[in-house]
C-alpha cells in the first residue's frame, strides 16, 4: 500500500511517531566536512522530513544508531557501579537497502558470533524498525549489486523523497493506521539493478590459496600510501570493532565510566598488546587484514553467500589518501585468478 504525502503531512506523522520512536536519518551538518567549506552528512535524530539529506549518500553509515561511536557501559561513582540505560522508545531508522544489509551483517557479529548476544548492541537493535530510503540509481562509486546488498524487504516502510512530497509504502501494521486516510498511490520501491563499476570478488578456496593471497606483493604498496587513520573503518557500515576503555572525568575525579568506542583495524594500535607487541605492524598488513575480512574471512566463518562488504563504497570516497578498497579487491581477485592456475586448484566464480 502506498501513499503520497506532503512534507507537512509527513512531519505531522513524524510527530505522532516520535511519541513511540526516536527517528534517525541522514542529516546535513553544515561546515562539518573533512575539507574546508564542505558539509557532512551523517545520521542524527530528525525533527522534520526536510532534515533528511536524501540527494547524497551519507558520509557515515547508520551503524552509529545501533552501535554508537561511544557508549557508556558502566558508570562508576566514588562508591557505586551502575549499568547504563538507554531511552525506552523504539527507533525508526531511515536507511538505504545496502545499509539495511549492513546492519544485518552487524547482527551476525553482535548477536550470533560466539553463540551469545551482546547486550549493548541488542538493546538498541531490538528497538529498530527500518524505513527504507529508496535507492534506484546508486552512485558512481558504489557496488551493492556486486555484493548482493542492493535489495531488501526488511523494512516497515519505504520512502521515495521528492522535492515536494514523499511516497511512502507501508508494510508494517503498526504504521498503517497513522497513514490511513492519506491519498493512496501505487508505490513500490525500486532498487539499483546494476553497478556502474562492478567488482570482481576473489576466489580463495583453501589455506594454500589464502597463504598465496597473503603473500601477494600488492599489500606492501599500501605501506607508503596509507596513513593508518582508520577512516575507511569508521564510515563502513559493517565494521564492528570496538575498544572497551575506562575513563575518569578528570585527573582528580572520583567518577568515571567504562565505555565502548569504535576501533579500527587500520590503526596501528588495533593489535598492540600491553607491553607493545603488535601483530600487524605495517599499513599493508592491516589493509590485507581488512580487505580479506570484508571479502573472505566473514563468509568463511558464517557460511552462506554473503560477504561482509555491502558495496556502499563510502570507504573509497572517504580515504584522505585516495586509496580504493574496490581497486584492492579487484587486484586481489585478478591476482588470485592467476594464482588459482598456478596452484592448480579448482576455479570457481
Amino acid at each position: 500500500m502506498g501513499y503520497r504525502v506532503s512534507y507537512e503531512q509527513a512531519d505531522r506523522l513524524l510527530q505522532t511517531w516520535q511519541k513511540q520512536y526516536r527517528i534517525y536519518a541522514p542529516k546535513r551538518f553544515a561546515g562539518r566536512g573533512w575539507k574546508p567549506g564542505t558539509d557532512m552528512i551523517r545520521y542524527g535524530e530528525i525533527q522534520s522530513f526536510r532534515d533528511v539529506a536524501y540527494t547524497e549518500q551519507s558520509h557515515f553509515s547508520p551503524k552509529d544508531v545501533v552501535a554508537p561511536i561511544m557508549q557508556t557501559m558502566l558508570s562508576f561513582t566514588a562508591d557505586e557501579v551502575k549499568v547504563s540505560s538507554i531511552d525506552d522508545r523504539g527507533i525508526l531508522l531511515l536507511a538505504r537497502p545496502c545499509d539495511i544489509h549492513g546492519i544485518h551483517r552487524l547482527d551476525k557479529i553482535f548477536l550470533k558470533n560466539g553463540g551469545q548476544a551482546d547486550f549493548y548492541y541488542q538493546r538498541y537493535r531490538e528497538k529498530v524498525k527500518f524505513v527504507m530510503i529508496e535507492c534506484r540509481e546508486g552512485w558512481d562509486h558504489c557496488f551493492c549489486v556486486s555484493m548482493g546488498a542492493n535489495r531488501t524487504d526488511d523494512y516497515s516502510m519505504a520512502v521515495r523523497f521528492g522535492p515536494d512530497d514523499l511516497l511512502i509504502e507501508v508494510r508494517d501494521e503498526d504504521f498503517a493506521d497513522s497513514l490511513a486516510g492519506l491519498p493512496a498511490v501505487d508505490f513500490t520501491p525500486e532498487f539499483v539493478s546494476q553497478d556502474k563499476k562492478p567488482v570482481q570478488l576473489p576466489v580463495i578456496k583453501n589455506p594454500e590459496q589464502l597463504k598465496a593471497a597473503y603473500d601477494l606483493p600488492m599489500w606492501a604498496e599500501y605501506n607508503d600510501r596509507c596513513i593508518s587513520c582508520g577512516s575507511c573503518n569508521t564510515v563502513c557500515t559493517t565494521c564492528s570493532c570496538f575498544d572497551t576503555i575506562d575513563v575518569i572525568f578528570s585527573e582528580t575525579s572520583r567518577d568515571g565510566e567504562r565505555r565502548r568506542v569504535w576501533s579500527s583495524c587500520m590503526l596501528e594500535s588495533f593489535s598492540t598488546m600491553a607491553g607493545g607487541h603488535a601483530v600487524r605492524k605495517t599499513p599493508g598488513e592491516r589493509m590485507r587484514f581488512k580487505v580479506l575480512h570484508k571479502v573472505h574471512d566473514y563468509r568463511s566463518r558464517f557460511g552462506g553467500d554473503e560477504h561482509m562488504c555491502i558495496g556502499c563504497g563510502r570507504c573509497d570516497i572517504r580515504c584522505p589518501e585516495d586509496i580504493s578498497f574496490v581497486d584492492a579487491v579487484n587486484r586481489l581477485s585478478a591476482a588470485m585468478a592467476g594464482q588459482a592456475v598456478v596452484v592448480g586448484t579448482k576455479e570457481e566464480i
Partner: protein, 891 residues
Amino acid sequence: MQEQAAKMKDMLDPATVDDLELVLSGPESFAPLTESDAGADDEVQKINTCCRACISNCGVIAHVRNGRVIKLEGNPEDRMSKGAMCAKGLAGIQALYHPNRNKYPMQRVGERGENKWKRISWEEAIDIIARKLMETREKYGAETVFCSTGGGGNPEIWSIARFCNIFGTPNWFEPGCAQCYLPRVLATAMMYGGDDSSIADSNALEIYFPEDTEMQSLVLWGTDPSYSCTASGGAAVVDLRAKGVKTVVIDPRLTPDAAKADVWLPVRPGSDVALMLTWIRYILDNRLYDADFVLRWTNLPYLVNTETNMLLRAETSNDPASPDTFMVLDARTGSPRPLPYPWDDNLDPVLDGGCHIDGIEYKTGYRLLKERVEPYTLEKGAELCWLEPDRIEKGIRMFTDNQPGGLALGVATDQTPNSVQAAMAANIIDLLMGNVERPGALMQRFRKSGVFDMPNYPVPIAAGRLPDEQLKKRLGGIEHKGLHIWYAGHATSIFDAVLTGEPYKPRIWIDRSGNKMGAIADSHKVKRVIDELDFIVHMYMYPTSFSAYADILLPTTEWLETDMMVETCNTLCARQAVTHLWETMDETEIWSRLAKRCGELGHEACRLAFDAEYMGKDLPYWESVTELWDHFLSRIDLTWEQLKQNTPYEYMSKDEWKTYYVYQQTDPQTNLPVGFNTPSKKIELYLESMITLGRTGLPFSACELEPATRDYDPLPYFLEPSESPLAGSELVRSFPLVMTNGRVPLYHHTTLRNVPWMRELYPVPELLIHPTDAEKYAVEHGDWVWIESLRGKIRALASLTQGIMPGVVFMERFWNPETLDSKTRGWQEMNVNVLTKADAPFNDVVGTYTLRGILVKVYKADGPPEGIWQKPEDFRVWLPEPADPTKEVRL
C-alpha cells in the same frame, strides 16, 4: 581527642592508582544507571586576595564554590601584576589541596629521624613546646633556645622575632638574611635611607609605570625578574624594553632577560664587586657622573681623616633635625672650610683633593674612592671577571649614555662574603649618576600608607623587650653587627655553638617555613647540628626533610587560608583566607599561643606581653590576627573587614603617592631641604657609619656592643672567592669548575617541589654546562652527572648550553619530597646546599657565607638518584584530593 597513629609513610605512599580504595570498596553487583542529578551549579564566589607563592604578593581573584577553591586568576586591578599570575601562583590550588599537607599537630613517636608520628591536639602541642622551652630556659638560659624563619611559602617573618625578644633569646636567624637582601637593605639604608632598588623585593616601583617613566636604561645585576617575580617585575621589564629602555644584564647565565638585553655581561660568579669597581673607575675617569649632584648631595667632597678614616667635622650637632657640619676643601681659598648643610654658595668645594691639617693627611671621599678603584681598569676587570674589556665598556656606556636609569641589584651578590661591598658599590654606581628620587630612578621614597611599622610586615617585633644582657649574647652579633638591622643572629655562629658548646650550647630549635636542609649551606653540617639538639619544632604546610628530624610538627596555613595585609604601590591589599582546611593555623596566632602558655607556666615577660598597658606601642599579644590588622588599619580609619571587602584599597592617588625629589622638600622645622635619611642628610658614598657600626653596633643595636675585631670598611673592596679558580689556586686542579645557582620560574626558595604542575615541567634540577666543559669532562646532554665539592656530592641532569659561561656550571637548588621517607629524607640527592660553604670567610659586616662561586668537579653518573620521580605520571599521587570538604575547625 582520641590518639590516632598516623605514619608519614602512609601519607606519602605512592599508590599507583588514584582512588583505588574508593573504587574497590564499591559494591560487587551492578544496579542500572539512573539519570544522575547533576543539579544546578552552585554559585561561584570571586574573592580578591593576594598570592604568597613567592614574596611578590600579586593580586589574585580566587573562585570559590562550596568552600572549595576552583580557580585562580590575576586581579587586573593590581598595580604591579596587572592581572597576571606566574606559574607558582597558579599552582596555589595544588599546593592548598595537596594530599600530603600537615593537617594536624603531630608528635614524634619512636626515634628522632624515624619519621613516625602520632596526632595530638593543639593544646597538647603548645603545652609540650612551652614546657620544654621553660625547662630549658630554667636550666641553661633563654639564649639556648633558637628560632629560624625563612621566606619560603607564606612567610610571616616577624612573629618569630617578636617571640624571641619577649621570650628572651637573641638567637633567631634566617637562611636568607645575610645571604639574601639584608646586605642591600643595610647598605641602602645607611647610604641613602630610602628604598633599595630590588625588583624582586617589590621595590624599584618606578618600573611599574612605563606610561610615564623617564627611564632610559636599566641595569639588571645578578637578578632576573622574568624568573624571580615574573608577573610583577618580570612583566614591568618587558614593558620597559618594549618602550625602548636599554637594558644591561650582568649574569653568568643567559637568562630570559639576558637574552633580550642590549648588552649581556656574563660575569664570573663571585667577581661582581671587581666588575662594579671597574664600572666606578670608568665612570670617574671619563667624568660620566652627575658632577653637580655628587658635589651638592653626596658626602664625597667631605674631608676624611686618613688615620681614623672618620670624616672631619667642624661641628657636632646635638639636634636630630640638624646634621653635623663637615669640612670641605674650598678651591677658592685652597683651604679646608666647614660646609653648612645643605650648601654654601660662597664655597667651591673640591671633589678630588686632599690636604694636611696638623700633620694629619685628609682626603676627600671622592679621592679615597678614586684610589680604591684605581687598580680596576677595564683590562683588569675583564681579567678578574672573565669578560672582554670592550664588552664591559659597552655595558657601562649603554647605561651612562642613556640616563636617567637605574641599577637593580639582585640576590646573586648577596650570596658571597663580598655581599655588603657589592651593595655599596652598586649603590655608588647608581648614585654617582644621580639616580635617586628623580623620575626614571629606582631609588625612591614614594609615600607609604603608614599602617606598617616594618615594611610589609605588620607584626610589632617589640625589639626593646629583649634585655641588653641577652642581646649581648647574640651569636655572631659582635663580629657581624650589620645583622642587628634585622635583630638577627648569625646562622653559622649558632651552629658552631651547638657543635662546640662555645660560648654556650643552644639546645632547642624552633623553625618555621620551608626545608632548612635545603636552604642552609652545607646541609651535612645542619644534620650534625640536629643530632646535638634536645628538641626541635617545625611549623610548615608540608612535611619536609627538616620535619623528619623534628619532635613536634605544627600545621600552618597556606596563603589561600591566611589573613595578612599587603601594601602594593598606592594601595593596601588583603591577603584573605578564602577557605580553611583541617587544623592548620595561622603562624601569627601560633606564636601568640606559645607566648601565652609560657606566661601561664611562669614566664613573667610572656605573661606581661598580654598586658596592653605594659606593652604600649609594642602592642599586647592577640587572640586573633583580625585584632592585630584592625589595630594597624585604624591608622587610616579602616578595619580589616573593610579592607577585605575593598581590596585593593587605594589609600592615596597615584600622583600624590609617587613623590619625586623628597630630599628637596623643605623641612618646616629648619626651613632647609629635608635631605636624605642619613646622619649627614647627604648621600653617604663614603660610608663612615660603617665604622661606627663595627665599633658599637649603633644605630641598629639597642645597646652599645663591644667592637668587632676589625673596623668595617667605609668603601667597597673586592674579595676574591676563597675557592678561587684563578691562577695560583691549588683547589682548582681537583675542582675545576665554578658553581653558581639560582632560580627557574617554577619554584620559590625550597617550595613547590611537591606540586605536580611544577614538577612535571621541571622534574629534576639540570646542571647547565657549556659544551666545551662538557667535552672536557666527558659529559653529554641528558647525562646524569655527579657534582662534587669539598663538602659533598649530588647528582643532576646535564644540560649542555651555550647559555652559560665556560668554566661555570649552574644548578637550581632542589630537594626531593618523594624520597622524604627514604634514608636520604629527600635532601641528599640533588640539593645544591650539600655543596655550598657555611664556614669562613664571612662577610665582615653581616656574616654572609658562600652559596655561589664555590669550586666543584663534574663527572658522569650511572643514573639518577634512587627513588626520585621524573615522569609526569609519577606526581599523580600529589594531585589534589578530589573532595576535601572545607572544615572550619574550632581549635
